[in-house]
């Protein structure tokens, strides 16, 4: 079985975020890391490989992004993925979801041309853009069924069954491989890279693709081809001191409720 996990390199949420002059996120000047939500995807792919240890299962970590994005692939390899693919091309900068999903789909097709891809795993969203639509778009482009937002994943043979927790109901969904799967942050804590894993990752193969390797024209991606553009980006205003409700005579609860009501929280 051949599994591809798509991983995104995102700016560290605890660091200062910066924007480029075109209002897109500055991805080079900020410390970055593997999106935490994608760690869950890597974890589920690795668990699948461990649970089905009688089969030959290969897990490939795939990322699209600038040079630094290779760190996301490396982290996935340190956690235990077998190989990595990094798609990088200056023309990709500024791509929207459609552009990104096109590059991902083409890369998955290229990986699949060597060995058929049975399962593509995504996190539920990226921690920077938080769109959550790329898995669906990639599924559409690949012509594969999409099984999204799984909190529990079971598989046997070519059958996959997942649990998806909604606000009002929990769905159990069955599907036949090949599929595109996305997993939530409820699917199980991701493992830490171990010392052995870190050392082993040094020797794992990482392939680099450019757009021409994938047969994608520069005009199909990037800011020019994007259907959406960031018109304005404003830094979050500094946190204000807040309002303190004092309770000296027992009226505190009422005052608190009035405050919350005035802000339309209740």
């Amino acid at each position: 079985m051949n599994i591809v996990v798509c991983v995104k390199h995102v700016p560290d949420a605890t660091a200062d975020r910066k924007f480029e002059s075109d209002n897109t996120v500055d991805r080079e000047g900020v410390d970055g890391l593997l999106s935490e939500l994608d760690e869950y995807a890597v974890e589920q792919a690795l668990q699948l490989r461990e649970k089905r240890s009688d089969e030959e299962i290969s897990v490939t970590a795939l990322t699209v992004g600038p040079a630094k994005a290779a760190d996301a692939v490396r982290k996935a390899l340190q956690m235990g993925a077998d190989k990595g693919v990094h798609v990088s091309d200056d023309a990709i900068a500024g791509s929207d979801y459609l552009g990104t999903s096109l590059v991902l789909a083409k890369a998955i097709e290229k990986i699949g041309s060597e060995q058929k891809v049975d399962l593509v795993v995504f996190g539920m969203a990226s921690t920077d853009a938080s769109g959550g639509v790329v898995p669906a778009m990639v599924a559409e482009r690949l012509g594969l069924p999409q099984v999204t937002l799984a909190s529990v994943i079971e598989s046997q043979g070519d059958q996959v069954r997942i649990k998806r927790d909604g606000d009002t109901a929990t769905e159990v969904i069955g599907a036949t491989l090949p599929i595109v799967l996305s997993v939530t942050d409820q699917s199980g804590e991701a493992r830490y890279p171990s010392f052995k894993g870190i050392m082993a990752a040094k020797k794992k193969p990482v392939e680099s693709y450019s757009l021409s390797d994938l047969g994608v024209e520069a005009s199909e991606v990037g800011a020019e081809a994007a259907y959406s553009a960031v018109e304005e980006a404003t830094a979050r205003p500094p946190r204000t001191a807040g309002e303190i409700v004092t309770d000296e005579d027992g009226s505190g609860a009422t005052a608190l409720a009035e405050f919350l009501a005035s802000k339309k929280f209740i």
Binding site: K75, E189, Y192, S194, I198, M199
Partner: protein, 406 residues
């Protein structure tokens, strides 16, 4: 400011000392820090109050691949050098860990090396299977017992005796200040199988014997209360006619002193890392606080007297770290660095004491309060100049090794 809120502050990595190494070591440090942020920091206050770590934490740390770093794969470890295991310690402090946590979660770092090193004989391999592998898997907890009520610095003068009786040794004596001793499943115990405790007659008569919890006559006398290292349990142990199989002897009879001495470099450099890593963390916390805390209408960090303090703290941490790493790398390369390890420890101890003192000062009253992380580091680092060779003893050893002893 509570410890749980400080755990979320920028790490030493991002706001101060940059612990860069190879990309692999950076990844290892980050993995250790991530483990600590998630599995340790939220509970550390409770473990400090409880006076001990839960066993479950040892299993979790083993599963995360942190326990076995620095131990060879042949004995169940994950491989790696001394610098690699020091990197784990840095990461743990960076993630909000503490000296007590390291002492207790990594007691195997002092309890196992002798057993692992003696594993090349069939009897030694058996001890490796019984004690080293399960401990590195997080299933067992081990302690090292050398210090006695009558003395710790003078290892050759121990009084606990082991007298051969058929296939057993009969052990009598007492050990004190033993880290993880109340929870230990086994205790690597220094015993006297020959010679005498009188000055100059002791070295050749010391042996190492693994004593298992539950062996009749072997008991925890007392759990000791301490100034710091609260989450690390410390025990006084009693041995009364304890029959220990001869198979539990580590290495040759009478080779205990040499075995212990061989591990000193590693232990001392480990304590040096604790010193500068605690200092780096305290500096990061203090620097953040100084930029946020306003007095007389301005942040503390705008005052020259405060920011110069921060620079001096930073200077000491950088020097202690750089020197300790250099000595550890020389040890990894096979060099004899006994004196240098003493100098590194002394440098880091002084750094830790100065930096944690100043960090508490910058925090003001909040720094004196229980639950503030700098308060814990301030108490915890006091041990570093006492354990693993006290300052005075190491200075004197260095004087002899460096040719300054007249």
């Amino acid at each position: 400011m509570s410890a749980s809120s400080t755990a979320a502050l920028p790490s030493a990595l991002s706001s101060g000392v940059v612990f860069t190494g190879t990309p692999e070591r950076d990844a290892l440090r980050e993995a250790a820090a991530a483990f600590t942020r998630r599995e340790v920091a939220p509970h550390l206050d409770a473990w400090e109050d409880a006076g001990a770590l839960p066993r479950e934490l040892h299993r979790a740390a083993a599963k995360a691949g942190l326990i076995g770093v620095g131990f060879a794969e042949e004995v169940g470890g994950d491989g790696g050098t001394l610098v690699d295991s020091l990197t784990v310690t840095e990461g743990i402090f960076d993630g909000g860990g503490s000296g007590g946590l390291i002492a207790s979660l990594f007691t195997h770092g002092i309890a196992l090396p002798h057993i692992a090193a003696a594993g090349h004989t069939p009897a030694g391999a058996d001890l490796v299977d019984r004690f080293v592998r399960p401990t590195l898997a997080g299933e067992l907890i081990g302690s090292l017992a050398i210090t006695e009520p009558d003395g710790g610095s003078d290892v050759a003068s121990i009084r606990t005796t082991a007298v051969r009786d058929g296939d057993h040794y009969v052990v009598n004596g007492a050990k004190t200040f033993i880290t993880s001793g109340t929870r230990a499943d086994f205790v690597t115990t220094a015993v006297r199988t020959g010679g005498s405790f009188e000055p100059g007659k002791g070295h050749g008569g010391v042996s190492l014997l693994v004593v298992e919890a539950g062996t009749p006559g072997f008991t925890v006398d007392r759990k000791l209360e301490k100034l710091g290292w609260h989450c690390s349990d410390t025990a006084q142990l009693s041995y009364v006619d304890v029959r220990v199989p001869v198979a539990n002897l580590v290495g040759e009879e009478g080779s205990g002193f040499v075995q212990i001495a061989q591990q000193f470099v590693v232990e001392r450099l480990g304590l040096a890392v604790q010193g500068y890593a605690a200092a780096a963390r305290a500096l990061a916390l203090a620097a953040t606080y100084a930029s946020e805390r306003q007095t007389f209408g301005k942040p503390l960090a705008t005052r020259q007297v405060i920011r110069h303090k921060l620079v001096e703290m930073r200077r000491q941490v950088e020097v202690a770290r750089t020197y300790t790493h250099a000595v550890a790398a020389r040890h990894d390369a096979g060099e004899q660095v006994i004196a240098e390890a003493c100098l590194a420890k002394e440098t880091a101890v002084k750094t830790a004491e100065h930096v944690c003192h100043e960090a508490v000062q910058i925090f003001g009253g909040a720094g004196y309060m229980r639950g503030s992380e700098v308060e814990r580091h301030y108490r915890d680092v006091r041990l570093l100049g006492i354990g693993g060779g006290a300052n005075e003893v190491l200075a004197d050893l260095s004087a002899r090794l460096l040719g300054y002893a007249g």
